[in-house]
């Protein structure tokens, strides 16, 4: 079926916003799929990577280096293949805090996930999963740089929690997060005990993961009866007392870290989630105007809190608002958010709840009309540029650092909010400079992410085009940037091309590459 101009625009918007653009070598296939075909495939990706990406992941190495410490470990400086599929018990056995081991060794799973995330953003066939995995990593953010155990559990968190559920059911995902090694460490529920529970997880569970800050009625502190709807068991929002009580509900949800339970018993050292009955505060509780009887079944208190939160309409509103802000943009109409919230609430039991919601958004006119309203996150800018240019790509630590300079330290946002979904964050002068630097650096191989020789793409370009200005004009077209003659001339000069010389010349590919980078620095290419 031939694709219409309207469908083509929709498809481009889909691939730019719910993916990182179209590679030249997949253009005709995607145009053949059309909107429906593309969404069908992207919303139901198989578990695991496509064969091309899997093969490339198998070849990725990451630099690991540390100094010797006497009587503990020798110095090391090597490129080590990344490891994504180790079971957590194997990592934890090696992690044993009693064993002397450099922090860099313990943190290698974090490096592996960083490398895989960059590589998949460029190569994965399942682009929408990459975008959604990032969304959920931010929503259920753990700072992998905060503490070694979090870094050590990142591969498992990314694989078994985020990617596994990123298009599935929210309630299932929420419990997978609540019982994940990474989150139990990050929000310190691991050490929460009956008597004076640790409120860290419960607080952010309410505010960030489910109900949202708009539902926090802090002026009613402990006067739960004053919360509208409380009398009928449906309070409109939550108060501090709900947080305190929920924290009690999650006591005993912990990690098998080899520590002692009491004088006579020890937890095994596996890194797995476990529930320790005698750390749990079993007495009666009241959460969201709902009474919990004392001494319920193991884990029943915590699971009941998760149920109450997922069923609460404030969670649907909060999630709809958040997912619309990410996928549609900052100026999404409130009526549209309300429609998505309603759909969210109706699908809370559906195994493919999230996929259904994403489809509803992706097929809406609001989505199509939102073109250009989102400033690309630094990883999106990187991936779109590399994909558009058809460059060979290898993830490196240098590139990771540059993404951080541009405002996106992967898995390293300092607070549980994750990286804010706000254009402003990416538009400060510092962030802008580093976005430009990112494009120049990728082009000139500052961080060893590519092959320093001219690529086939650029050779083909050089063969195809007559003069420097013609080539530069092509690059602007490739990035969808309108450019007048003056700008094209300046850009080709900035790239060291002799504007009207024909052909571009023997060393021309290097200059062509710079011209492409400068074209990609344009304001238009910063947004999608």
């Amino acid at each position: 079926m031939p694709i219409t101009a309207e469908n083509r625009d929709h498809l481009l918007q889909l691939t730019n916003r719910l993916g990182y653009g179209i590679r030249a070598d997949e253009y005709s296939e995607i145009m053949g799929q059309g909107v429906g075909g593309w969404l069908d495939e992207q919303l139901k990706p198989p578990l695991g990577d496509d064969s091309n990406t899997a093969e490339r992941l198998g070849k990725v190495s990451w630099h690991i280096k540390y100094d010797a410490v006497e009587n503990k470990w020798p110095a090391l400086d090597e490129m080590r293949p990344i490891a994504l599929n180790k079971p957590i018990e194997e990592i934890w056995l090696a992690f044993d805090p009693q064993k002397p081991m450099s922090g860099a060794e313990r943190a290698f799973p974090r490096s592996s996930v960083i490398a895989a995330t960059m590589l998949r953003s460029v190569y994965s066939r399942y682009q929408l999963r990459e975008v959604m995995a990032q969304f959920w990593h931010d929503h259920f953010h753990v700072n992998a740089f905060a503490d070694d155990p979090i870094a050590a559990s990142m591969a498992n968190y990314d694989r078994d929690v985020i990617r596994k559920h990123c298009l599935g059911n929210f309630r299932e995902m929420l419990e997978a997060v609540a019982t994940s090694t990474a989150m139990l460490y990050y929000l310190s529920n691991r050490s929460s005990r009956a008597g004076a529970a640790n409120e860290n997880y419960a607080r952010e569970l309410f505010e960030l993961h489910t109900l949202g800050r708009d539902a926090y009625l802090n002026d009613r502190y402990d006067r739960w009866r004053e919360v509208p709807g409380a009398a009928t068991g449906h309070p409109e929002g939550y108060i501090d007392q709900d947080v305190y009580e929920a924290a009690r509900a999650f006591t005993g949800w912990t990690v098998e870290d080899g520590g002692s339970i009491d004088g006579g018993r020890k937890l095994p050292l596996t890194g797995h989630f476990t529930y320790v009955e005698n750390w749990h505060d079993g007495y009666q509780k009241r959460v969201l105007a709902t009474e919990f009887d004392p001494f319920d079944k193991p884990m029943a208190d915590g699971r009941r809190v998760l149920d109450l939160l997922v069923e609460h309409p404030a969670t649907s509103r909060h999630m709809a608002e958040k997912i619309c802000r990410r996928l549609v943009g900052p100026s999404v109409p409130p009526v549209f958010v309300a429609r998505i919230a309603e759909a969210w609430q109706k699908t809370i039991k559906a195994p493919d709840q999230i996929a259904q919601i994403v489809r509803m958004i992706a097929e809406s006119p609001e989505f199509i009309q939102s073109r250009g309203s989102k400033v690309k996150r630094p990883i999106a800018l990187m991936a779109q540029y590399v994909r558009a240019m058809g460059y060979e790509f290898t993830p490196t630590e240098g590139l990771f650092n540059q993404l951080a300079n541009a405002g996106q330290k992967l898995f390293g946002a300092p607070t549980p909010v994750g990286l804010p979904d706000d254009n402003k964050v990416f538009l400060g002068s510092n962030a802008m400079r580093n976005r430009w630097q990112l494009l120049i650096g990728l082009t000139q191989n500052y961080w060893n992410t590519g092959i320093p020789e001219p690529t086939e793409t650029l050779k083909a370009w050089n063969a195809k085009v007559g003069t420097g200005v013609e080539a530069t004009a092509e690059f602007f077209r490739l990035f969808g940037v309108p450019a007048n003659e003056g700008l094209v001339n300046q850009t080709s000069m900035a790239a060291g091309l002799v504007p009207f010389a024909s052909p571009v010349g023997a060393d021309g590919e290097k200059h062509l590459a710079v011209a492409a980078a400068v074209a990609a620095m344009s304001p238009e290419f910063q947004s999608c």
Binding site: N198, G407, T415, G428, S429, N430, W436
Partner: protein, 419 residues
């Protein structure tokens, strides 16, 4: 990488066919040194909710001793005893500064450092993010927060600041909420290596063409990113090969023991000495959200902060009368600890003001007490000083104007006497 002078930029712009009239910013860009005697306000955000009671403890208060484990208190005897602070906020209570804050204790004794205990938001939020947003916006309620788009410091600079091409810098990856809404503000986490043009002068000419006439937030961001860093970059000293020369603090000051604050403070010190008309600088020092294992984490935060600020004050001796450093956190922490060896989100915390013209060596504000009836909701140190009272007094001193209106719906009853 080549640096551009003002003339080169103008030439480049003309060559690019960009009219400088279309770019009002560039016409009054300050390229020459602007020696000044105007005050500079430096805001240090202690992010995560610093436990004021562990930073400065009412060490001999029986209510305090009864409620808290000893490793989360500053002790008044033994080898780990903290520094006793004269002129505390309550008679008969020995207020002790953390044992690893010797540098701050010296600044207090010298009369440059003032503490305000039991201060914070009058709104009872125990959320980091709402509390941070409120403080950075300069409001005291949820309702005002939804109406307020700009930061308190941005409004103060727009209303009462001196015109300058670059009024403020966030020494951070992005612009702190205090400065949201201000146009001539730059974020730079580290200026020690300069801020040269990306890709060189020719590339920036092309960038000017692309961004110079592009409306909207991306266009504006690009223009500022081309203009503002130059103001700083040209003041960074380079050798003949164009390499930046490492920063040399004055007075033999050393930032070596300032940990995670070292590069930040060096950048701030450098920016102060550049004399480019800066009126405000913000910086961040995070990690205070100590829900577990607080004792060790707190030590690791307090010691570098104390060392760093002491080094900074020594380094900038020549500027003391112009400098005001305000330390602020979103909230304090619960009086009673939890079983993770930490503390959960509470209410009142500690702020401090460091300034050559500040009446330091004293506490300001009322001490509410820690008995059950005196606590906020029976659990937290109560707020007796609205954070806006401190900031209003500081702003009045810094810009010489009346700043109460910077904080909407706030009734300012006059300063605490810090200045």
């Amino acid at each position: 990488m080549p640096q551009m002078t003002r003339r080169q930029i103008l030439k480049a712009l003309a060559a690019a066919g960009v009219s400088t009239a279309a770019l009002p910013m560039i016409r009054h860009m300050a390229f020459a040194a602007e020696a000044s005697d105007k005050p500079i306000l430096i805001v240090l955000h202690l992010r995560g909710g610093c436990d004021g009671l562990n930073f400065i403890s009412p060490a001999n208060d029986p209510d305090f001793i009864a409620a808290r484990a000893s490793d989360l208190r500053v002790l008044d005897d033994g080898k780990d005893a903290g520094y006793s602070l004269a002129n505390g906020p309550a008679a008969h209570i020995d207020f002790r500064l953390h044992a690893l804050a010797g540098g701050l204790s010296e600044l207090y004794k010298q009369g440059n450092l003032a503490f305000i205990h039991a201060c914070g938001l009058t709104d009872a939020t125990r959320s980091h993010f709402i509390a941070t947003d409120m403080i950075e916006s300069g409001v005291g309620s949820d309702a005002d927060l939804t109406r307020m788009e700009s930061g308190w410091l941005a409004r103060a600079l727009m209303e009462h600041g001196s015109p300058a091409a670059l009024q403020a810098i966030a020494v951070s990856g992005d612009i702190a909420g205090d400065l949201h809404g201000l146009n001539n503000v730059l974020a730079a986490p580290d200026v020690n290596n300069g801020l040269p043009f990306v890709g060189g002068a020719n590339v920036s000419t092309a960038l000017w063409s692309m961004y110079g006439n592009t409306p909207g937030p991306v266009g504006e961001a690009g223009k500022l990113a081309l203009q503002l860093p130059t103001i700083i970059d040209q003041k960074v000293i380079r050798d003949a090969q164009g390499h930046t020369i490492p920063y040399q603090p004055d007075n033999g000051a050393s930032y070596d023991k300032a940990g995670g604050l070292a590069n930040t403070l060096k950048s701030v010190a450098r920016l102060v000495k550049m004399d480019v008309g800066l009126q405000a600088i913000t910086m961040d020092y995070g990690g205070w959200d100590t829900h577990e294992y607080q004792a060790g984490r707190f030590r690791n935060l307090v010691e570098p902060m104390s060392n760093g600020l002491a080094a900074f004050w020594n380094d900038l001796s020549a500027y003391h009368n112009r400098l005001v450093v305000v330390g602020i956190t979103e909230f304090g922490r619960r009086l009673r600890g939890n079983k993770s060896g930490g503390t959960d989100h509470g209410r009142a915390g500690v702020s401090f003001v460091l300034g050559g013209r500040a009446n330091g060596g004293k506490f300001y504000g009322q001490w509410p007490g820690l008995s059950s009836a005196q606590l906020d909701e029976g659990v937290d140190l109560a707020v007796t000083t609205d954070y806006r009272r401190i900031l209003t007094e500081v702003l009045d001193h810094v810009n010489g104007q009346k700043n109460a209106a910077i904080f909407p719906n706030y009734h300012y009853t006059g300063g605490l006497g810090i200045f």
